[in-house]
């Protein structure tokens, strides 16, 4: 069973196409990162999946229920991008209210709320009004609200945007805990370092279209960036290297050459070819591309022109 299965979801706001074609499959238990530049359509996509915004066209199922099915939302959690809550409620009252809205029994609420407050580091703030909370504390209580019903599927729209380093580590740990319980997490984030540490798979969205998905565990098929230093780099060498990979370039006259291989299996062949063709090899440094490098490759030149 898929946690999320969408086909051609589209949202227009008048003339503006916020999401052109959202086609995604997210497995149960997956930690799924949703990446893209500002205004790419990440929040709009999440809002469509949660029934906050009605898609112009397309269809989707969540946890095998059709999009917008009310009761299936009892098994979902959501931390909105703009986390603002009733300032006049105390933290524990706030969670109790949301527990009621989830349809949880009195006992279930009483059991879950203190633990959750503890989990997000607000154990001592149960009786504080949300109006007296800092931004990061609000985001923490919002996260607690999203996890209150032990959901099967959680949507987190930039959950660490207001958090200190300790809080970010905390969210990472919480997500790891969710993975262990088999909960599916759909994570919007700009913090690629964190995404790299937490997600199983990521999708890149640009101008409302999913342009690529990547499996972050599958390092064998990942591109490798290689830096070479040889005795006498000649123009012929540069041309010859094109057979191994792309983006062959001479680096600033110090005899270094860089290129990008499709994956690491090409490395031994490259070293062999160089020595057998009379090049003295001083250095060969492979580096897998960071998620940020991939982001720049995929999104890079196109961002900002929307």
């Amino acid at each position: 069973m898929l946690a999320i299965d969408t086909v051609g979801l589209r949202k227009e706001f008048g003339e503006k196409v916020a999401v052109a074609d959202l086609t995604l499959k997210v497995q149960q238990g997956e930690i799924f990162g949703f990446l893209g530049p500002n205004g790419a359509g990440k929040t709009t996509s999440v809002k469509m999946l949660l029934g906050l915004t009605r898609p112009t066209s397309g269809r989707a199922t969540l946890l095998d229920h059709p999009l917008g099915d009310r009761l299936s939302r009892a098994k979902m959690g959501f931390l909105p991008e703009h986390f603002r809550f009733q300032e006049w409620l105390r933290a524990d009252e706030f969670l109790d209210l949301h527990g009621r809205l989830y349809g949880m029994s009195q006992q279930a609420r009483a059991a879950a709320i203190p633990d959750l407050l503890e989990l997000v580091g607000l154990g001592k703030r149960a009786a504080t009004k949300l109006g007296a909370f800092s931004k990061g504390m609000l985001q923490r209580i919002g996260l607690a609200q999203a996890l209150l019903n032990s959901p099967r599927l959680v949507f987190l729209d930039e959950p660490t945007s207001g958090l200190d380093p300790v809080g970010r580590r905390l969210v990472r740990d919480i997500i790891h805990g969710l993975r262990e319980e088999g909960t599916t997490v759909f994570l919007n984030s700009h913090l690629l370092g964190e995404v790299e540490l937490t997600c199983d798979r990521v999708a890149f969205i640009r101008e409302g279209v999913v342009v690529e998905t990547l499996d972050l565990h599958d390092t064998h098929t990942e591109q490798v960036h290689v830096t070479l230093r040889v005795g006498q780099p000649t123009p012929e060498l540069l041309v010859a290297l094109e057979q191994f990979g792309r983006e062959v370039a001479m680096d600033d006259g110090r005899g270094r050459v860089s290129l990008t291989l499709p994956d690491e299996s090409h490395l031994p062949g490259l070293a062999h070819w160089l020595t057998h063709n009379g090049h003295t090899l001083y250095e060969l440094t492979p580096r897998t591309l960071s998620l940020e490098d991939r982001f720049m490759q995929i999104i890079g030149d196109h961002s900002g022109d929307t």
Partner: protein, 280 residues
């Protein structure tokens, strides 16, 4: 139903925590104090210098209706003020996003808020209108006929204003919604006078205009109903159409009462529809 009650409870707690309830209560008590003192001294004056032509009960009726007029006005204001930011404020601040994504119907949110506000308006009417009538009774022994019915209509006037404000809040900003609600009240108020004066000079266009505005905002027309209800039949028979400043020239039709009931439920349905079909 559980969710409706949860939201209603939340709504009442909000107006309590944000001190709207307390300010309303405090102002209401202040009003009752002023009314009580004024009433006492005027009656005292009449007891000392009785006038054979004006019986005390007529004075008591006039003062009570004047008091209730203020209560009616305050109730309508309260109806608008408590509801004005109810939805638009939560939509603007994105608070609504974590609510409507719960496994609940959007209609339950509207009905819950409506119910919560209706309870507040009911308590407010009971305190102010009930208090006014109690003061009149304790000091002069006068009790108007149909008092409960009259109180119910004052309550409903507040509910009409509140429901109109709720439907506006599903789509408009708080400021625009508040402006609209007060303007509609103004239209209903002026429309009432246009109808009255039109009736006095037998101008049918003016009467029709008044009726039309009463259909949009049927509060002033209900107020004229209250005057007719609370004035004892014996006084009406003697050609008395309400106390001097509250003369009713054009007697409102009974159908208007029925209309006012259906109007609120139609507005409520409209609010549910408007809220259910919108994006956040």
């Amino acid at each position: 139903m559980n969710i409706v009650l949860t939201i209603a409870q939340l709504t009442i707690r909000e107006s309590q925590r944000r001190r709207i309830l307390w300010i309303g209560l405090f102002m209401g008590l202040a009003f009752l104090t002023v009314f009580g003192l004024g009433f006492h001294y005027i009656i005292l004056e009449f007891e000392r210098f009785p006038d054979a032509h004006i019986p005390v009960r007529e004075i008591a009726l006039a003062l009570q209706i004047a008091g209730l007029y203020v209560v009616y006005f305050l109730t309508v204001m309260l109806g608008i003020l408590i509801a004005v930011a109810a939805l638009s404020g939560e939509i603007d601040s994105h608070i609504i996003e974590s609510i409507v994504t719960k496994p609940i119907r959007r209609a339950e949110i509207i009905l819950g808020k409506w119910l919560g506000f209706a309870v507040i308006i009911a308590l407010y009417t009971l305190l102010l209108a009930g208090g006014t009538s109690l003061i009149v009774y304790l000091r002069s022994g006068f009790v108007t006929p149909n008092l409960g019915y009259g109180l119910l209509i004052i309550f409903w006037q507040g509910v009409i204003a509140m429901t109109l404000t709720i439907i506006g809040g599903t789509r408009l900003s708080t400021l625009a919604n508040g402006g609209l609600a007060f303007m509609l009240y103004g239209i209903g108020f002026i429309g009432g006078w246009v109808e009255q004066i039109g009736a006095l000079f037998r101008n049918e266009t003016a009467v029709d205009l008044g009726i039309l505005s009463s259909l949009i905002m049927p509060v002033d027309v209900l107020w004229r109903h209250i005057i007719m209800l609370l004035t004892p039949a014996s006084m009406l028979d003697s050609g008395f159409d309400g106390p001097v400043i509250f003369v009713v020239v054009s007697r409102p039709s009974e159908a208007m009462l029925l209309y006012a009931v259906f109007y609120v439920f139609a507005l409520l349905l409209g609010a549910v529809w408007s809220f259910t079909t919108r994006d956040f």
